[in-house]
């Protein structure tokens, strides 16, 4: 199967999957018209669920800053992964030179990783 047919199939499949999901969501609304699905509106029913209590204060509270640090670390190593994939595919052609180049690349990043470990940035507290 050639390039265009492959990606075309995937794109059209994505479209079909979205429509499938949409129909799944809309189906109960159709069944409601037929009287198969109940709808008994009630002010309490549409409040935010919190173990039976009324919610106190806004939900948008400020979260632990630590989540952001892990997301940043992830971003850095995700870029590393992106570099590694073409390297892996062409390694047998590149030989030991490519191996060494990538070893240096990873060694540089690993100093950052070890620094993060030593500084305690990998601890969750």
């Amino acid at each position: 199967m050639d390039y265009w047919a492959g990606y075309g199939s995937i794109a059209l499949f994505l479209l079909v999957a979205l429509i499938f999901g949409l129909i799944t969501i809309i189906l109960p609304k159709v069944l409601k018209l037929l009287g198969l699905v109940v709808r008994k509106p009630n002010a309490v029913k549409y409040t935010t669920y919190e173990c039976g209590m009324e919610t106190i204060g806004p939900s948008w509270v400020q979260f632990n800053f630590r989540y952001y640090i892990f997301a940043l670390l992830f971003l850095v190593f995700d870029v590393l992964v992106v570099f590694l994939y073409p390297w892996a595919v062409s390694l047998r052609g590149g030989g030991w030179a490519a191996f060494t180049a990538m070893a240096v690349f990873i060694a540089v990043l690993l100093t950052g990783f070890l620094y993060a470990w030593k500084k305690g940035a990998l601890e969750w507290r």
Partner: protein, 165 residues
């Protein structure tokens, strides 16, 4: 019109609409979601240009990492539901934006574009790796400089944590 052209125009329209939505929607979280959609459309455009590896990387890094980072940053800010407020600097900002748009369109219109679509390498990833890790004409030094830039990001992130303590 063939199917590839249809795919291109659909994706381009999606990109333009979602980019406009990012700017025009007052709700910051929804604007962020449209930015993610714009990233996704760009990935699609890369694939229509024959760069499937780049398309996958666009989804992996921009949608999966930067998009998440962005939504996280939006959630970490205070009073998101008030939306993005008006700003006194709108006049200089719009002048600057117009200038930038002019510069970009001018350079786009005055570049002679070489048409490379005919000689597209189909299994692009192996060719890409081979050209990056070639000893004579490769890009090994830029690669290592990229490693240093990423190292700076790691250290910067850790310094940020240190200041929060």
């Amino acid at each position: 019109m063939d199917l590839q052209a249809v795919a291109f125009y659909v994706l381009a329209a999606m990109l333009v609409v979602s980019a406009l939505a990012v700017v025009l929607i007052p709700n910051v979280f929804r604007a962020g979601l449209f930015l993610v959609l714009a990233f996704f459309a760009v990935a699609g455009l890369f694939i229509t240009l024959g760069a499937d590896f780049l398309g996958a990387v666009q989804i992996l890094v921009y949608v999966g990492a930067i998009g998440v980072l962005l939504l996280l940053a939006i959630m970490l800010t205070r009073d998101v539901h008030h939306g993005s407020p008006g700003n006194r600097l709108w006049l200089p900002a719009s002048v600057l934006g117009a200038l930038l748009l002019g510069a970009v369109s001018w350079s786009l219109l005055n570049t002679t574009w070489a048409d490379k679509a005919a000689e597209m390498p189909v299994p692009a990833t192996a060719a890409l790796g081979a050209s990056v890790f070639d000893l004579q004409n490769g890009f090994i030094l830029p690669l290592e400089i990229g490693a240093l830039a990423l190292l700076a990001v790691v250290i910067g992130a850790i310094v940020l944590v240190g200041e929060k303590k």
